[in-house]
Symmetry: C3
Subunit: 179 residues, 3 copies
Amino acid sequence: MDQETVGNIVLLAIVTLISVVQNGFFAHKVEHESKTQNGRSFQRTGTLAFERVYTAKGSRESASQTLCMREVRRSQNCVDAYPTFLVVLWSAGLLCSQVPAAFAGLMYLFVRQKYFVGYLGERTQSTPGYIFGKRIILFLFLMSLAGIFNYYLIFFFGSDFENYIKTVTTTVSPLLLIP
Amino acid sequence: MDQETVGNIVLLAIVTLISVVQNGFFAHKVEHESKTQNGRSFQRTGTLAFERVYTAKGSRESASQTLCMREVRRSQNCVDAYPTFLVVLWSAGLLCSQVPAAFAGLMYLFVRQKYFVGYLGERTQSTPGYIFGKRIILFLFLMSLAGIFNYYLIFFFGSDFENYIKTVTTTVSPLLLIP
Amino acid sequence: MDQETVGNIVLLAIVTLISVVQNGFFAHKVEHESKTQNGRSFQRTGTLAFERVYTAKGSRESASQTLCMREVRRSQNCVDAYPTFLVVLWSAGLLCSQVPAAFAGLMYLFVRQKYFVGYLGERTQSTPGYIFGKRIILFLFLMSLAGIFNYYLIFFFGSDFENYIKTVTTTVSPLLLIP
């Protein structure tokens, strides 16, 4: 691709590559946990493999298994939401404006990291919320909608609000920093 | 991006955004169900959290848990098939023809919605089929193949069947409406 | 899209379509296994459907259920890694060089196939590794990084190493064939 086209997507590509690194981190963490878990159970009980994994009965294994299961579930939730995130990130960046979209994407990656590792110490919150980063996904979604809306405004009325929309989104995006 | 390029992808982008809304609906439904389920079990039995989730023994909880589990599984199947759907939607739309691809994508979203909510009332079909919307995915896949084939025809023989392919796909696509 | 633009992505599109076929094969395999499993259990025990699926107690069903569960887990791991693979494949192909990226993508599909069907006969390895094809993903990731790095080199210093990077990646990519 030529220099100009790459310039239109380079920030989005960087955010996407960071998210790939994060995916790798999650996968590594889950693999590590599941290996540790399996090794420990094997030494202690020596039952068949599928029993270790699919029945969780023993009271002594409960605590560590709960931790492991929670990590697996959280990683699963992250994996489930990943295609949706990519879709809104790229459609917001391509249809509307690149810089705020990349910034919101970066925020989402922070929220995801916090969702995955932040509550590892707690015992009580055993079933983590299924959805996280709703506000950021919504922001990116609205940006995409604004881009499509603008396209049809140009198409039918010939009036271009692109710069106006870009200014608004760039101004609004720092609000995502508010927790 | 300039107006013309956006015009080539705007319908695909709209279908994709609708699918994002649907993903959000599924995630919301699953979170809601799992919360209700957890709350009810907690009041009744008060066991440890992981037991509630990973063993399904009690006969009274069976019916509602089966419902919940089915919904979770169905949502999981939808999530699993989502990247594949996006890939064939966009490659069919970009390599071949936009309008029939977007139409087929819309059909797929309807089928997915029906797959998720349609059989909620039934008790018998406890393990839903893993695959749904095969015909639509196949249609989009064949459109992509036709696009690639056409590229190599132009490349090697210089003969362009693009308009012919576009006419055929546009004519064939309403057949997807037949259940 | 015009002929030249399609030429820039056609190999990536072909690899992606092959991966779609493979996804379909995995989904078919899982559906088939789960149906066989359900059918056999039903004839033998006749318990409620959710018990069959969510408790794995009987010693005679163990072996086949372990097999089935392993297949499901493996397919799940493939599905989980799929968006990440697509992202690095396309960013490596678009930002850096198409031919080595498509070649590495093809290698990844071979590794994935081997991961899914290769060890079906073994009984011992009951919990398959969570991650596979690390080296190929890393190669594609480094290609994307090189592409982004090159963009900023042109942007800030005006020096273009694109041909150099393309030669290096094309030379290095056959090394992925070494197991």
